[in-house]
Symmetry: none
Subunit: 417 residues, 2 copies
Amino acid sequence: MNCEVVAIGTELLLGQIVDTNSSWIGEQLAMAGINSHHQTKVGDNHGRMVAVLREALDRSDAVICCGGLGPTQDDITRGAIAEVMGVELVRDEAIVERIRAMFGSRGRDMPDNNLLQADVPKGATINPAMPGTAPGLICPLTGDDQGKVIYAVPGVPWEMQQMMIEGILPDLQRRSGFRGAIRSRTLRTWGTSESGLAELLDEEIRRLDETGEATIAFLASGWEGLKVRLTAKAADAPSAEQVLDRHEAIVRGVVGDEIIFGIDGDTMESVVLGMLRQRGWTLSVAESLTGGLIGSRLTAIAGCSDVFRGGVTPYDRALKRSLLGCPDVDAVSEEMALAMAQRVCEVLGTDASVAVTGVAGPDPLEGHAPGDVWIATCINGVASAQFLKLPFGREQVRQFTCIQSLNILRLQLRDLG
Amino acid sequence: MNCEVVAIGTELLLGQIVDTNSSWIGEQLAMAGINSHHQTKVGDNHGRMVAVLREALDRSDAVICCGGLGPTQDDITRGAIAEVMGVELVRDEAIVERIRAMFGSRGRDMPDNNLLQADVPKGATINPAMPGTAPGLICPLTGDDQGKVIYAVPGVPWEMQQMMIEGILPDLQRRSGFRGAIRSRTLRTWGTSESGLAELLDEEIRRLDETGEATIAFLASGWEGLKVRLTAKAADAPSAEQVLDRHEAIVRGVVGDEIIFGIDGDTMESVVLGMLRQRGWTLSVAESLTGGLIGSRLTAIAGCSDVFRGGVTPYDRALKRSLLGCPDVDAVSEEMALAMAQRVCEVLGTDASVAVTGVAGPDPLEGHAPGDVWIATCINGVASAQFLKLPFGREQVRQFTCIQSLNILRLQLRDLG
């Protein structure tokens, strides 16, 4: 069973709207154990829509066609599907009444152009879910494409999603005959390259290629490190989870928790907050280089306030002294970083702290090169510092320093046992 | 001239990553006046990649192939393109040295896997921009596809974008034979809806539809307000700029600078920093609700340090008193916001300040509802406050408060004349 997605809309091609619908549909198909090898975006053009749908049917058993079911002149999906099916559009009076009733329930008359939404390809049935005025269509193919199907859904996300869950996935499951389950698990890593991970996991990758009981994939997620994603197909959910448990253990054994900092929804911030919360410890930050970024990321997490008390951003050199009472030393130095970490713990009364000072660039500062960064942490009055020389641009220096400083604290908390 | 986009990566089909690259590329192509009728996503599978690339070349003159240029086993774009070109992969020693040098500059040895990135299809040239370790490829086709081209770029957005702007768009312009100039200008707005803007600009839009000398487009950019983009095609750049000047004046006259805060690369942060710099004034921030976000966004801008001195994040209520000497009043109140704005100016010794306190949510705080926010500003010792009731989720409350607080300061500085 193989199902692909066709997203309709010139605004998608122009980049005015990011096509999140296809991503959502793709994830649903994957979790349902249905293969999906292609996603296509095409504009509001009859000829191109027909051609794209025919290509999709050549490759796949089912096509989910998203968008272009509205009541306006550029909503031409119904006509394109009818041509691919080789049938006429016929007005479905039952749908007319349903749409009319919907407008009625909102105290409005149905505009005539909404009648267009009741014109459906002959032989099509209606998706059982109809949260809006646009009916979803289930369009069986005949002739050479006998047994294949096109599902048409509106581009409005919540309408599409309800039709997908209540109408399309059950129908696909029936057609596919797949009764099993698919589960995925993502390990978050920090501090190694994609090629480095691939080398470490080379043997495991080959083993999985042979047995095929699970797949492993590396996903770079911007500045946030690399994700290692394990996916298992099995007869039922518990067996799939067992396969994941076994291979997660293998991957953790090879890569180690110095590099693997979390799982699935974890972030470096949430992990560090969690470790501190377990101890009942509080955290403060002293940010020069990052200007508030570390605090901003920590406070993006709901419920952080039981751990994170606050921070100081002595961006101007004089403030390092006046706000924190740091000595009048080189602003980008081990001594300054250590003082910032220690003093912010004392001034804000926290058990732990992170402090960063350095040069984000692009220009040098007081004789220090862009990317020169000192990170210090303080736990129960004991401070330590590390120097980084980062070959990045300004924003990446800031982001990398933020995550790395929290990672240093994470490893120190881990080593406390 | 017709160029389509093929995004490579199983993670895109599985919905683990939303394909924002294709949207960005589509927008760039549209702005450059190059037709783009199809975008396709395909997984890391050699056969399917080859088939999709051949289909794309049947329809279009150029194909931008995004992703799969990394150093791991599942980065197979180079091989697929070579097969479509009907050539071998050959190792480019110059690229080997470039990649080795990049690792060297980061004090690391190049893993052997990265050698794969130096294997390029015979006849391909390298994109002039190479911000990362993955070279971008310009692959001319021969035979039946003579004159057509495949551009390969990495999936890492900032690498892809630099290659697109410096390498691909100029090459496409050359191939398209368009000798004229296309210029765009984007007006940044804050505080109005798309329908509101459309109403204000209704007459101008109709005028442009008739004369066709320029086009106007509204782009929602997430939380950052709406962009109004004017695009003009003319014989040469100066004439295009003149057309833009004329219509920018019309749009500004209708919409006004209370709503239009900047142009092109401006952000609310950069505009406020610029207005303060003109006066030789300094800025500080006191952030409770936003936890450092305002300072983080201000310091993301290179050269901010002549204006931005620093900030205090008294996230914990007690710190509002101990760090800033605020009175012991309701943490989410006008009195507290005013005190924070005034005190942070005094403690940090700045001419102006922004202070925010409120409830990001999802839970209420001390009897205040999520989304209840007090913003205060202080200019030369004179403070004023505004209350916001925001019907958003946690992150949007934080982001909106950040931009809105800076916008309040912008309007106050403007009114000082």
